[in-house]
Symmetry: C2
């Protein structure tokens, strides 16, 4: 009778019948981390559609690690990445921009034993315009691809955008192609990179659909309600979509790349707001006989107005777009970038500025690669030697050439190149 | 304020936000016909997974027409079908086995104006073994294909069976191929017929997936809950599956057949338990700019034990299988076919038998094409001149050669033929 009661309780908590040997472990954690939980306790709100912090310093990422049940990227892991890759860690890693992970040690264990893995990241193409924040996962993913010499799949969730936004299928697909050009402009190796539109690839790969259905069989509405906060009046497309974002985590979804191998480990670099999808994926994986993907999580790229929210493509003044002219970049930063400086020059010289909330400084941590220069700027701003206007000027002069170069590279991306990247085909990789 | 209240009420009833010009018409009817409604008022239970009648005469089909909001196939429609096709109506039509329809007059209107339509039917491949009841929609569909000279698509819902049953993807796909052989053995024209596995075709046709997503965007969980009785602990695959059964109702799902035309009307011959899927489809169609499919509904093929339930592939004694030997057919009918005769020969001679509940007689209405012979049997059985054993003998002698011939034709179906029928390709048709 006790056993029976336990089974009933189990079902209420997990939405699944109890099966011996199928622990829902991570999933239980998930149920306590849904948007509902976020709403009531006044903590930072972080899910795939919303990010808002309760503090001006932005989201408390240490708390998020505890809530999401992931692990901090510590000094030991950093050193291991450097040892295994034989390269100095990317400044996104050194500066804690990629700050959290799941199972990264297992990926490195396998790689040390000459077992390849692959990278999976993605983009929701909700408009033509991408902003600098959208580049973060791609810049980092390119670095991973280069240092580990491994294949990469990039999912363009045009079906998701169709389901969530007031857009037609044709618009979403067009945004996929336009955004793919920006992604290709990041310098990915066409011999190691497959970019795919869900709308196209679902209809081009029976193996991909098979994995989608497998995931869909093993996740209940109760579970996606707990994880994503879906309600009874959400459309059935939204409710089943998480399975489509899950499927690329399994190498068998890409037989053209992995020759039908089911056991090539997957590493997903993404912003931490995407973690709910992969907590779900990791919960399902062992129940369908597949490997759990590993993850590397980044912080959010803050809006110009401050770190309480992330950049949004729908508010033009919150973001620096990849299409902005040098003049627009200059004006936006001067006008909108939240300053951590004091109200008057006198006060600033006397008390110094606050780099923890200063958006211009935060942006430099993303894009100024020179550690010494950055350290010097921090010292000078904190001491008051550097004024807000001067700090903004440094950022402007960092971003203007970076974006101009991106525009130049993007111009050179032809339709044929896009076609090539988006054609299902074998890729070259090390092992 | 009244308007606001109306909108709230509307949302509660339909699960959708109110939009001017998008009537939920049929859908509202649907909400009152879900399994929940069936459960409480003790009426016949009819949904895609359950059929059970409260009377020994079987389901009350007239009541079902009212409940489902379809139309009776009346004398006028019968005569019109004969006029337009230039053929005597099939005995399934003459005898009320196909008894209900939606928009069949519109199909005939279009056909008279030399506008083609296409047929769509399907099968859920839950095992290798099909029984005689499974042939009904295919026998009738073949007749429609022949008299109207039009293309046919046959959906094998192997993904559905994977989601609902304790089967692997490989098993479901194998059942698809095995069942396809039985379907091909019904005599379909390979130049006019496309049979597809969902597991394969979803991954082979971006246009099919696009229609699935369109449907998925326009149906809420509330709606499928009302229509199909899904609950929060159902997997997300079941919840979104109805969109996959809906999509073949739209000619744009088959660009290889219709060259991208969105406006070729679709006629679906099916057993009435599949109607919930198409009520949903017809509700969605105008909201995604596509045509509502028309339907022809059949009654259920009764189990040997009586008309209260339909034949089931999982209970071997409830069905005559297409693989049964002449001896098995004889034994099953003699042993299990529910009799409408009296307890003793004396009583039977005196009072006569009841053809309304006699399963052997019911089966003859399906498979004995000769109207006069059937009428004579009815008279003799009702008068008591014909004994139950003699009636069973007539059925046995009707089914044995029919099934032997089916087995013979099935043996001649090669793997290459199956391959041919299941390859996406252009089809030949009249207009």
């Amino acid at each position: 009778q006790l056993l029976l009661k336990l089974k009933v309780d189990y079902k209420q908590m997990t939405g699944q019948d109890y099966k011996a040997g199928c622990p829902p472990s991570e999933n239980l954690i998930v149920s306590n981390n849904g948007p509902a939980a976020d709403d009531c306790d006044g903590e930072d709100l972080v899910d795939p559609w919303n990010v808002s912090a309760s503090s001006t310093k932005g989201v408390d990422y240490d708390k998020l690690i505890v809530r999401f049940g992931s692990s901090k990227i510590d000094k030991e892991l950093l050193e291991r990445i450097e040892k295994v890759s034989g390269q100095r860690a990317h400044h996104f890693l050194r500066r804690g921009i990629f700050f959290s992970h799941r199972d990264m040690h297992q990926i490195l264990d396998a790689y040390e034993k000459h077992k390849s893995f692959y990278l999976y990241t993605g983009r929701g193409p909700s408009s033509e315009a991408m902003h600098v924040g959208h580049l973060i996962p791609f810049i980092f993913t390119k670095w991973l691809q280069d240092v580990f010499d491994i294949p990469l799949v990039v999912q363009m969730t045009d079906d998701e955008k169709y389901l969530w936004k007031d857009l037609t299928l044709e618009e979403c697909h067009r945004f996929t192609v336009e955004n793919a050009k920006d992604i290709i402009a990041c310098g990915f190796d066409v011999n190691k990179t497959f970019i795919f539109s869900d709308l196209d690839y679902m209809g081009a790969s029976p193996q991909f659909y098979r994995n989608v259905v497998k995931v869909q069989k093993h996740v209940t509405f109760n579970q996606v309600k707990g994880i994503f906060g879906f309600t009874d009046s959400d459309c059935i497309g939204k409710i089943s979509f998480p399975a489509i974002q899950a499927a690329p985590s399994f190498s068998s979804s890409f037989p053209q790349i992995f020759g039908g191998k089911k056991d090539v480990p997957c590493l997903i670099p993404c912003a931490i707001d995407q973690d709910p999808y992969f907590r779900m994926t990791r919960d399902v994986a062992p129940r369908i006989g597949l490997l759990k993907p590993a993850l590397l999580h980044s912080t959010f790229f803050p809006a110009l107005q401050g770190a309480q929210t992330k950049m949004s493509a729908s508010d033009p003044n919150s973001s620096i777009f990849l299409t902005d002219t040098p003049k627009q970049i200059k004006n936006k930063i001067n006008k909108h970038a939240f300053s951590g400086g004091k109200d008057t020059v006198e006060e600033h010289r006397k008390y110094g500025g606050n780099t923890e909330v200063d958006v211009s400084f935060l942006y430099l941590t993303f894009f100024l690669e020179d550690d010494e220069k950055l350290e010097k700027i921090k010292e000078d701003y904190t001491s008051g030697a550097l004024l807000t206007g001067e700090l903004k000027k440094i950022l402007i002069e960092t971003l203007q050439p970076m974006i101009a170069q991106h525009q130049e590279r993007r111009k050179q991306v032809t339709d044929e190149m896009v076609q090539q990247f988006m054609t299902p085909r074998p890729l070259n990789y090390k092992f």
